[in-house]
């Protein structure tokens, strides 16, 4: 049913640390690898070696340049995927009931055998989190690796989303936001976790941890001081002579 649950028992989601992310795209690749061979239709590539390549991915990493008013610009790598919104507009617009939000953990999923591929949910999502698969003609999105996190056939340390498991910088964290003592809740509280486009009222679950403030004191500054000194005496005379040459 495309009505949203009024409340979910758990609010599973990610905390993505923009201070730590190095923009290596490893999460993009591991996500594609896991999800192309597990839940639902594979994530197809079209014309992968030709002149007009395209493909379905559930996670994309942008790199932004942020320019503060009175400091040099800084680069922030920014992974973008489904935020598993509490008030997910992608769910309510679905005409077939294929899109739904789970009551037990709040994960937003697509039942692919009901999806007609109309694309309206992708239009309704502000975050570009849904991509229609060009081959299967059904909507693909982040499942929060629902087939890993509860999978008892996997060793316990692997029971987290593929992107989180693979991140070499430890920039991605997975947990339950409904529990104030969970790792993600604590991280978000400590670091002032950001909600994306709050003005659209989607109430995203995932939070982004903003980059920590950059040091304004330059440790090397005193050593690199090249301000002219005005030597006197013999040295001063030599310098004045040299300037004339």
């Amino acid at each position: 049913m495309t009505s949203l649950p009024t409340q979910t028992e758990r609010r599973l989601g990610l905390a993505i640390d923009l201070d730590t992310c190095v923009g290596c795209h490893a999460c993009v690749i591991s996500c594609k690898e896991w999800n192309t061979s597990q839940y639902g239709a594979p994530l197809s590539d079209t014309d992968p070696y030709g002149s007009d390549p395209g493909g379905t991915f559930l996670n994309r990493v942008h790199s932004f340049e942020i320019t503060p008013k009175s400091a040099p610009p800084q680069v922030v790598h920014f992974p973008r995927s489904c935020l598993h919104c509490e008030d997910a507009p992608c769910v309510t617009v679905c005409p077939t009931g294929a899109s739904y939000k789970r009551v037990e953990d709040g994960i937003v999923l697509v039942n692919e055998s009901d999806c007609i591929g109309c694309g309206l949910c992708a239009w309704a999502c502000p975050y570009g989190a849904r991509e229609m698969d060009a081959v299967a003609g059904v909507m693909k999105k982040c499942t929060l690796c629902v087939d890993r996190i509860y999978n008892e056939n996997l060793p316990e340390e692997d029971r987290e989303p593929s992107c989180v498991r693979t991140c070499p910088a430890g920039a991605r964290h997975f947990g339950d936001y409904a529990d104030p003592d969970s790792n993600v809740s604590k991280l978000s509280a400590e670091r002032g976790g950001i909600e994306l486009m709050p003005e659209l009222g989607t109430k995203p679950v995932n939070r982004y941890l903003p980059p920590r403030p950059r040091d304004q004191i330059d440790l090397l500054a005193p050593l690199l001081d090249v301000a002219p000194s005005n030597p006197t005496g013999v040295l001063g005379w030599v310098e004045r002579m040299m300037e004339r040459l």
């Binding site: 395209g54 617009v93 077939t96």
Partner: protein, 288 residues
């Protein structure tokens, strides 16, 4: 937004078809017998052709019946159900009229259903907060005006069509004027999209992918500003020409055909712009 041919054709044709049903159902076009059958088939044909065109937009059209199940929440589902109800009611009304039985109440009912269908179609777009240009009551008003004006023309109600075409002109200009500032007025920007506005201004340095993807081709579609201007001018000229023809000349078949052709061309052009010109907030992630 990507201006998909199937959707432009669908909204234009079905708009005309349901517009004609709304006019005809009210009994404005007082005909009977074979003429009534021709009008009925024309309206059903237009709406049916539009609905068929919309199927080409789907990734898995064979499952379209499932789209009729979520009327409680989904405008797309409501549109599907309403369009079938309208076509059934109107088809029976027109069929009975051909047989010499006039059921006024059934006519009124199909007229109301037809208007509701057009409204539901427009609400699919108007409900989307992600496309600020569409997210306004002006969108259903505009869709209704196009459909009713077209219906009055097809239903040979040229006296009423005069005023409808004027209202359409005003609504179209209002929709464009509001649209110019809709994205800025929505409050969304690259800064809110990334949540990093508190640090400074945000600019895309490197795109996540060098090639196209579904999101960029479907929602970050960009059309040249100059082209938009030319097409808007074309729509305005056609609108003025249509109103002039209706107000200045007396009705005859030739003129009616000309006005209908103008109306069709105008609707298609304006519908293309409705999609091509509208910005989706996801484009904020792409500096587009």
């Amino acid at each position: 937004m990507h201006p998909a041919k199937s959707i432009i054709l669908f909204t234009t044709l079905s708009g005309l078809g349901f517009g004609l049903m709304a006019v005809f159902g009210l009994g404005l076009t007082a005909v009977s017998g074979l003429t009534a059958l021709i009008f009925t088939l024309m309206a059903l044909g237009l709406a049916g052709a539009g609905l068929l065109a919309s199927l080409f937009h789907l990734g898995n059209p064979q499952r379209f019946v499932k789209a009729l199940t979520q009327v409680r929440t989904s405008w797309l589902s409501r549109e599907g159900v309403l369009s079938l109800l309208t076509m059934a009611a109107f088809g029976s009304y027109g069929g009975l009229l051909f047989l010499g039985i006039r059921l006024d109440l059934l006519g009124y009912l199909s007229s109301i259903f037809a208007l509701a269908t057009i409204f539901a179609t427009a609400m699919i777009y108007a409900q989307l907060r992600t496309v600020p240009r569409w997210n306004s009551w002006l969108t259903p008003a505009l869709f209704m005006a196009y459909a009713i004006c077209g219906g009055l023309l097809l239903g040979a109600q040229l006296e009423l069509a005069k005023w409808a075409s004027l209202a359409l002109f005003v609504l179209q200009i209002a929709h464009w004027m509001r649209g110019r500032t809709a994205l800025t007025a929505s409050g969304s920007s690259a800064e809110t999209a990334t949540g990093l506005g508190s640090i400074g201004t945000v600019r895309l340095l490197e795109s996540p992918h060098t090639a196209r993807n579904y999101v960029t081709t479907e929602m970050a579609f960009r059309v040249a500003r100059a082209r938009v201007g030319q097409l808007k001018l074309a729509v305005i000229v056609m609108m003025i020409a249509q109103s002039m023809l209706l107000f200045v000349f007396t009705a005859n078949h030739m003129m009616a055909a000309l006005v209908i052709a103008l109306h069709m061309a105008m609707t298609l052009t304006s519908r293309w712009l409705f999609f091509a010109e509208s910005e989706h907030v996801v484009s904020l992630y792409y500096n587009k």
